[in-house]
């Protein structure tokens, strides 16, 4: 967050230049790319709606997760999801759901959650790989920018005093009390940790597990895929990481809404964030 001020602090509200243009552009590229990657990924999952642990899918152990459908007594399709041996009826959403034209379709993830909407593995892969390149290039560009502009050191890296205040910050978050006024100009410690975990943990892990699924890249270094348990484990981890990213996005959007939706949205569109004057006197 650059220090340049749009107007000077005083007793009145003022606009603070919070997000630089590169950060804003890269943020919205991520929004599009992550959405497409998730939805095309779910369509790819639908081609083999099971998750296994190990080197192969046929090692004698049942899948960790299975989403499928069977015909019920009256001929209706029953969608079910089996997690670690426990079965759940998920008709309507997982296993069997209504397609865009209203007919019941047997598919793990429903039509509205996938790109393309109908079973089409080849096209889903085309979307997935194209946007995988987009997010990797965008991620590398962000990393270079964040290092050289000092965005990483100044805004993202938690300071020692940040880390000491984790407990306090956690309490405030749970009570939906968020920093306001001058304090809102910087990221709070939980926010910093969330961003750092996503940027340096989840996103690289998703890419790495993608590589681990590539038979060609398996030949890079003999046996490297076994470090994560084998190719089917890598597929499972890729899936889990994808949903952790979804969880991050849900929390992120929730925080955006409760801390002033329009103000936050404006700051990610124009860069300008309104700092409330009265809050500074608290």
């Amino acid at each position: 967050m650059p220090q340049a001020l749009v107007s000077t602090p005083g007793d009145a509200d003022y606009l603070y230049y919070r997000h630089t243009l590169p950060v804003r552009v890269m943020h919205w590229i991520n929004v599009v790319a992550l959405t497409i990657l998730l939805m095309s990924g779910l369509q790819i999952f639908n081609a083999y709606p099971e998750l296994h642990w190990g080197k192969s899918s046929y090692n004698g152990t049942p899948p960790l997760l299975e989403i499928s459908a069977r015909a019920g007594a009256n001929g209706q399709m029953i969608g079910y999801t089996r997690i670690l041996g426990r079965e759940f009826d998920t008709t309507g959403v997982l296993g069997a759901s209504r397609g865009a034209d209203g007919t019941v379709v047997c598919a793990a993830f429903p039509s509205w959650a996938t790109v393309p909407g109908t079973q089409w593995l080849a096209m889903a892969r085309a979307w997935h790989f194209f946007f995988a390149w987009i997010i990797v290039i965008n991620g590398l560009a962000f990393l270079a920018y964040a290092i050289f502009s000092r965005h990483l050191a100044r805004d993202l890296a938690p300071t020692r005093s940040d880390l000491r205040s984790i407990g306090q910050s956690l309490k405030e978050h749970l009570r939906f009390r968020h920093p306001t006024g001058e304090e809102a100009k910087r990221y709070n410690v939980l926010q910093k940790l969330a961003y750092v975990v996503v940027i340096f943990g989840l996103l690289p892990l998703a890419v790495l597990m993608g590589f681990a699924m590539s038979p060609w890249l398996n030949s890079l270094l003999t046996g490297w895929v076994d470090l994560v348990g084998g190719r089917q484990s890598a597929r499972t981890l890729h899936f889990i990481v994808a949903w952790l990213l979804v969880a991050f996005v849900l929390i992120h959007v929730f925080q955006v809404i409760v801390t002033g939706f329009w103000n936050n949205l404006r700051s990610m569109l124009t860069g300008r964030y309104r700092v409330q004057a009265e809050a500074r006197h608290e």
Binding site: R125, P215, W216, N218
Partner: protein
């Protein structure tokens, strides 16, 4: 702000978001069906291939496994028993009359019986088969080293791809025979074999008897089953759909390394 204003605004937001995402989804599906957009998406395939070749060498080996890793059964996918009269006839005779025809841009076109193929240098490997759908199975393959077969027929300098023509028709009316292709790098790769044994037994019909291709750094659809003829070509633009393989003609990537 009072609640009277707030609630309709939230509802408006939710509805707008819902409508916008439905519109975006329909847009994605419409783009998928255009002529040009899939070509834009397909540019990533060239990047995939370039990056994969950049970080690996010509002879980088696919992982090989231990006997203890073998899958209990090797799943049969795609065609399980080609129903053509020609195939059924050679199968009935335990493939004694099978002749693999190798031609195209080679100095010495030849026909190989199964005994001829078994007489050529072989390789045995326990490898993992990765289907494009997502599943993997580990099996032990034994077959003719493809480089040895190439040495016998002597490729011409103009040869850039090896075409594999198969016995299994993909259409209900008995047409659209399966085919595949690899480049010369994969053709000469040490693990590229024409497999005739699976898990120490004759290759079953369900898995591609009498021979199937193993090209271990690529996904399953590259591993053509029921190979009847091989042709070395300079380009495959005018063969079938022009994309180098049955599934490639349906939109799957020719570079199936990921």
């Amino acid at each position: 702000m009072n609640d009277v204003v707030k609630i309709p605004r939230r509802r408006f937001l939710a509805r707008t978001l819902g409508a916008a995402s439905a519109l975006a989804l329909a847009g994605c599906d419409r783009l998928s069906r255009t002529e040009w957009f899939p070509q834009v998406l397909a540019s990533a395939e060239k990047l995939n291939a370039a990056a994969a070749h950049l970080v690996t060498s010509r002879k980088s080996m696919a992982q090989e496994f231990a006997e203890s890793d073998l899958s209990s059964t090797f799943r049969s996918n795609g065609t399980a028993d080609p129903e053509t009269r020609e195939y059924q006839a050679i199968a009935a005779n335990a493939f004694a009359d099978y002749r693999l025809q190798v031609g195209g841009l080679v100095e010495a076109p030849q026909r190989f019986s199964l005994a001829d193929l078994r007489a050529l240098p072989s390789r045995t490997q326990i490898t993992r088969h990765d289907c494009v759908e997502g599943w993997s199975a580990i099996a032990k393959w034994k077959g003719t080293q493809f480089s040895a077969l190439l040495a016998a027929v002597r490729p011409q300098a103009a040869a850039r791809y090896v075409m594999f023509y198969c016995a299994d028709p993909m259409e209900d009316d008995g047409t659209g025979f399966y085919y595949e292709s690899v480049d010369m790098e994969d053709a000469y790769h040490p693990q590229t074999i024409l497999a005739y044994d699976l898990n120490d037994a004759l290759l079953p019909i369900a898995n591609g008897a009498p021979i199937r291709l193993r090209v271990e750094r690529q996904l399953g659809y590259k591993h053509a089953k029921y190979v009847m003829a091989i042709e070395l070509v300079a380009t495959f633009d005018s063969i079938a759909g022009g994309k180098g393989g049955y599934w490639e003609d349906q939109g799957y990537q020719w570079f199936a390394g990921i």
